[in-house]
């Protein structure tokens, strides 16, 4: 029966979501919120029972806090009747996922997410929301429009969600045992060393910090000597002896991401830039107000005489 646990948890979660989405008394929504929180706790328990491995307790606490904030803000986002508040709750989701990225040591992505998502994209959404809300809210200040207040067919949508959630959650809990084990320290070290060899200045600083008297790069060598590892950490064999390298000179996460972006995906980077440019053109062309030019104005602009003169118009009218 163990294999069924994730499905049952998803069923409970979907029911909680249904209670929150449908129109009903406040008590039922409270019940839904509690049921949802309980389900999240249960999913955590299922994870820790089914999947092997250990987690750092401090990190785990932070993960649980951020995950709870993210999911509750997401649920509130799809249940709130005011679009502006929905956008603000989405900012909360973005913030907490930036926190999760920090926990996964993806510092660059965490702050890029805050700057780009919360700072730029969401502000665009807010602008359009405010632009579009003027007319409807001038009439009824307290009431959101009818189509914002009620969910459309929450039952059917929740069933679709249940099927998807059941499959993915089961695959990522009970099915995860078939995944190969995570990388070991040796692979990480090799990757770090390989990148450091590509960064000449940082490599030189690292070696010279360990031994200021060395000539670096070594004379007569075509390439820099490779970084090697033993139980005490990284070292490089140069001029007949081993020079220890301090681990703080190892490449940071940002350097890894930058290297991977430029060395492995240069064409995709260019295409991404083109996509952004085209999207900007498209948005400008689409949202521009069409100014009406009469035939005469166009002719005058082109340096021709207008066909209709003022007397013509007066006479014709």
């Amino acid at each position: 029966m163990d294999g069924l646990d994730p499905y049952i948890a998803c069923l409970a979660g979907s029911f909680a979501l249904y209670l929150l989405l449908r129109r009903g008394p406040l008590v039922m929504k409270l019940v839904g919120a509690l049921l949802g929180l309980g389900t999240m706790g249960w999913l955590v328990v299922i994870c820790s029972e089914v999947v092997p491995g250990e987690v750092d307790p401090a990190r785990n606490v932070l993960f649980l806090v951020f995950a709870t904030i993210a999911i509750s803000a997401a649920v509130r986002m799809i249940t709130h009747s005011r679009p502006v508040y929905a956008a603000l709750y989405f900012v909360m989701v973005v913030m907490s996922s930036a926190g999760l990225f920090l926990l996964m040591e993806a510092e660059f992505m965490a702050f890029a997410l805050i700057i780009v998502y919360a700072g730029a994209i969401l502000i665009t959404y807010m602008f359009v929301l405010m632009l579009a809300q003027q007319a409807s809210e001038a009439e009824q200040i307290d009431e959101a429009p009818l189509y914002d207040r009620f969910a459309r067919e929450p039952g059917a949508a929740v069933i679709v969600g249940l099927i998807l959630a059941g499959t993915i959650v089961t695959a990522s809990t009970t099915g995860l045992g078939q995944l190969p084990p995570p990388v070991d320290a040796a692979t990480v070290n090799t990757a770090n060393g390989a990148l450091l060899e590509q960064l000449p200045n940082q490599y030189r600083d690292a070696v010279l910090a360990a031994d200021p008297d060395l000539v670096w790069p070594p004379e007569g060598a075509d390439s820099v000597p490779p970084i090697q590892w033993d139980a005490d950490g990284p070292y490089v064999h140069v001029e007949g002896r081993d020079v220890r390298i301090d681990e703080e000179f190892m490449p940071s996460n940002t350097q890894h991401v930058g290297w991977s972006l430029v060395a492995s995906f240069p064409a995709s980077l260019e295409v991404a830039g083109v996509i952004l440019l085209l999207a900007m053109f498209g948005a400008v062309v689409l949202a521009r107000r069409q100014a009406e030019h009469s035939e005469d104005e166009l002719r005058v602009d082109a340096g021709l005489k207008p066909v209709h003169t003022i007397e013509d118009e007066e006479g014709g009218a």
Partner: protein, 110 residues
């Protein structure tokens, strides 16, 4: 320092992040299906992007492969382009009928 950090991201952590990302994705999907406001529907697609980004970074962390984070950069690009175009279209639609209700534009799908 890197040594210690690398050993702490176990399969259990990966599974926690994957479950979180799938829940966020499903919430975004349900929101897309239930909300009738055009702008909120697009917000829900952004939520699904967010869920995908978390899964990408988690897998990248698990394998110590930075392509995951590079893909998140591309996700940000696509999200920004989508937001610009979609919002421009929504502004166009709103000018025609002064409503954001998706049901009012039912004839577009016929």
């Amino acid at each position: 320092m890197m040594l210690q950090l690398a050993s702490t991201f176990s399969q259990l952590s990966l599974s926690q992040y994957l479950v979180l990302s799938s829940l966020l994705f499903v919430i975004g999907l349900v929101g897309f299906l239930t909300r009738r406001n055009l702008i909120v529907m697009f917000l829900c697609t952004e939520l699904m992007f967010q869920a995908a980004a978390i899964a990408f970074v988690a897998f990248g962390r698990y394998w110590f492969d930075f392509s995951g984070q590079v893909f998140v950069i591309f996700i940000l690009t696509v999200a920004a382009a989508e937001a610009a175009l979609a919002l421009a279209l929504v502004v166009l639609l709103y000018r025609r009928r002064s409503t954001l209700n998706a049901d009012d534009w039912m004839e577009l799908c016929e």
